[in-house]
Symmetry: C3
Subunit: 382 residues, 3 copies
């Protein structure tokens, strides 16, 4: 019984007796300074870099956003190719819904009154012909404009080409106007409404800030220096902030990113969480390795003639696509990242002592002797 | 030679002799309890908070998703302004493709038979005129409706305004119907098909869950209480779940987020990974600082008359844009985060001992004396 | 005064005297080997797994991307239902803008010359009638096709159904062609231009790689083995890489993900950051629990007849929606994650020594005796 009692006591002792490493104090101010200085460095790293610069004590969340855009402005074109024409939003913004990506038409090749019929191909090495034998019925060249009918017909008084079944007359897209047709599009404005959410922190924000009133919104225009909070942007201003020239870009089209950065530190009062706008051209302007430079696409308006035949107006639209890109990471104090970073830094504090100790080891014999000679200098605590 | 041998032996000793800190056991149950209790707190933090609550041992990945939507329903309108008209999906859903963002038309201002021509401006301070001198040819006011022709013409029998070149007749968008035209849109339903992927974990999921069969899908309707897994939503229900009234919202339009949360713990059987639906209005309803409240956009249908002249029907469409927003983070056990979190926690365990030790230090002299008097009580282990 | 001086000196001593734990070297090669081996394991984990495999020393950022797509190709259809017709991009790509999600029409049910009028419902259990009493004026069945007028009219010579107000004639969508109408769509090609940004690292990339020249781009076609960098994809190839058959998929439609993975290690020269393409069908093909399998939507082209009446051609479009999904995480050496991971690993190194010590503890008495008997074997350093 005494044995079991002894065992029990041992257990209690093992569990509840406090155990601490014996340490040795070396009264050498030089070594002590190095030691404390290294500790200071670690502490500075933790406080200065990890906490202040990197905010590593924060949990993070990425933004969820919703964007609406509304373009305003009108233009008037009067060129030799087309009738004088007035353009409003319903004409030049595609698609019309005002999504996060909208396209403003600035230049175009219009091919009106196309219908399903037969016409001669444009002359090229593979389409010119002498007689019907050169044209294969049903053949379709991927670089051609339609399905060959097998006939060889006059393209002009001097050239004969294979006839194709296609939407005729064919589009002549080499005759793109040198100056953008809707050059005045540079004065259009766009209102961007953006609301964001950080679901983890239950934070909701808008790019129309609380301190802005309606009368200001009716007349303001974004300017990085004077009106950095105005959500109304002049297209010319956007393009020039991206380092491009609107008139240049308008001829062949391009893609322009309106980048809204919602990176926020939510530890402070939420009112400090502002959007930051930046602008960048997203397509490549003039690189060597570029296919289909600029930005264009084809769409058609379909009509029916009185006798029921379908015709269409094919439009090869060149213009600027504006992509509103919202990104951001919000940080807020979180216990787990704090613990992890502090813990890791503590490891380094203990590493410091280990490291200095190993240096000390090399002076082993010397110190040892020292202990023997002057017990006062080295005091083993406890 | 004996010297080199001695050096070699020292190296071996240095490498393979095990080195351990001398520790001291203090047989004080009070201090021991505090020590163990602090250790317990650290362990509880690690096990309870880091592992169970925060799941810090997991690697995470964000969701990639694909959404299709399909609206069903039809409406009938019979107002004094317009002919009686039947509306189906192809009429009121814009764009028709059923993307993650779809717009349901609920109200509108229709301006039919517009053509490129000349008409008097609406009377306002800047557009009323007495004679042609008040109107400048080619001038276009950003708040006006077109390009001034330089003539001053009769707007009504009493008012003269500048004539403009524009799509005439001009749109009168102040006459928005007070009650939504397509009020019955609240009974439309939308089927949302959503498939998600977590590429890092090679997980694929769908919002049509495996245990759901086709016959259920044909008749079910989402209800948080009774049918939480049904992917078919009644528009009215969505809007009311977001805390809004459909008929109110339908008049001036708005944006409604259908938020699908795919946050999952993939450590358990994958079947537990379910989508959670929530609904939130994304635009601001009635704030002080609001420009263009609600949601509307203009689009046009283009026609050609028998004599080839282009006319259009301009529609200022008010309605609700539904944005399906899919987000989520999946977590799965990962060795690196586990190690990092355990390691950091271990640092704190060692911090505990350091801390208690420094407390102990203050009792230095006392304990020291103690050792001298009763060698039995304090036993230095090895 | 001497007291205060003594206190001051104590402070200095406390601050600048270096303090190191007493350690004990156990000259047992067996224990030493186990000790060093365990340390080696920890070091191997840190160097091998954390650094090389998991790259845990890196900060990460997620990709921001912009996508343009351009489909090329034309088709010719000649079926009994429709007139022979030539199809080009403006006809079969919806929407036309070339966004990150584009739809290629492959099959359709066309209902031409619909107008707002009255026609008999399709016969079904709820729509067949004997006389007008069976039909309720103004009633609209969600599964029906319009608003009942209250009349019972002849659907055919044998069947009477309720008359509805709707777009008439009604669409008969059960007569979907068994073979895709635009079967030749499999030979269309799509050029995908994708530019990405990692804002944290100020990295910009394009999927048209720097070493590719324009002449190559004009003739190349993506092939995982021979042309893995070409941004031009044949639709048939995309579908077959996703493990599907184009002709099968074209009949009822579907959704196909073109997944571009920009995961990069930016520590190395940026040229190594290449996009990796993969393809996956995103909708469910033939599951048991599927509503509305495939992918289709309805849209209409509106016309006006000479007498001003609006007619439309309703098209139920079946086809393949291609979603370009860009994802990726870039990593670059960061001081915070490095410190955190190293720190955590260091904790484990110290854990090793604690662990071995506790093993040693069990041999307590034995070792203790040992010390007494042979002071030489156990040398306490310092």
């Amino acid at each position: 019984m005494s044995k079991s009692a002894g065992c029990c006591q041992k257990c209690v002792e093992y569990l509840f007796y406090y155990e601490t490493p014996k340490t040795l104090v070396i009264p050498n101010i030089g070594v002590g300074c190095v030691f404390r200085f290294t500790q200071l460095l670690v502490v500075l790293y933790v406080v200065g870099y990890v906490c202040v610069v990197q905010k590593a004590y924060q949990e993070t969340d990425t933004v969820i956003s919703s964007v609406t855009t509304k373009v305003k402005g009108f233009a008037f074109t009067n060129t030799s190719d087309m009738d004088p024409r007035f353009w409003d939003v319903a004409d030049y913004v595609i698609p019309p819904q005002g999504d996060r990506s909208f396209f403003v038409l600035t230049n175009m090749v219009v091919t009106p009154k196309q219908s399903q019929s037969r016409c001669p191909e444009f002359p090229s090495q593979s389409t010119t012909c002498v007689d019907d034998c050169d044209c294969i019925e049903g053949h379709s060249d991927p670089r051609g404009s339609g399905i060959q009918t097998g006939l060889c017909v006059n393209y002009s008084s001097t050239v004969q080409t294979c006839e194709v079944l296609s939407w005729c007359p064919l589009e002549i897209d080499t005759m793109l106007p040198e100056h953008a047709l809707l050059a005045t599009a540079e004065n259009f404005t766009v209102l961007i409404k953006n609301s964001v959410t950080y679901p983890k922190f239950n934070f909701h924000g808008r790019n129309i800030l609380p301190h802005i009133n309606s009368s200001y919104l009716k007349r303001c225009e974004f300017n990085r220096a004077t009106d950095p909070d105005c959500p109304i942007f002049r297209l010319k201003h956007i393009v020039s902030e991206a380092g491009e020239d609107f008139q240049d870009m308008a001829v062949k089209g391009g893609i322009l990113g309106i980048i809204i950065d919602w990176s926020c530190d939510l530890d402070w009062w939420a009112g400090k969480c502002y959007p930051k706008y930046s602008f960048r051209r997203l397509d490549n302007k003039n690189p060597v390795n570029n296919v289909a430079p600029g930005y264009n696409f084809r769409f058609a308006k379909y009509y029916k003639t009185a006798d029921g035949e379908e015709t269409r107006t094919l439009i090869k639209a060149y213009g600027i696509r504006f992509d509103v890109i919202v990104f951001g990471t919000a940080g807020k104090f979180g216990i787990v990242p704090t613990i992890v970073n502090l813990g890791a830094a503590l490891s380094f504090l203990s590493l410091v002592s280990i490291h200095v100790q190993s240096c000390n080891m090399e002076k082993h014999t010397h110190t040892h002797t020292h202990t023997h000679f002057s017990g006062k200098i080295m005091t083993s605590r406890i």
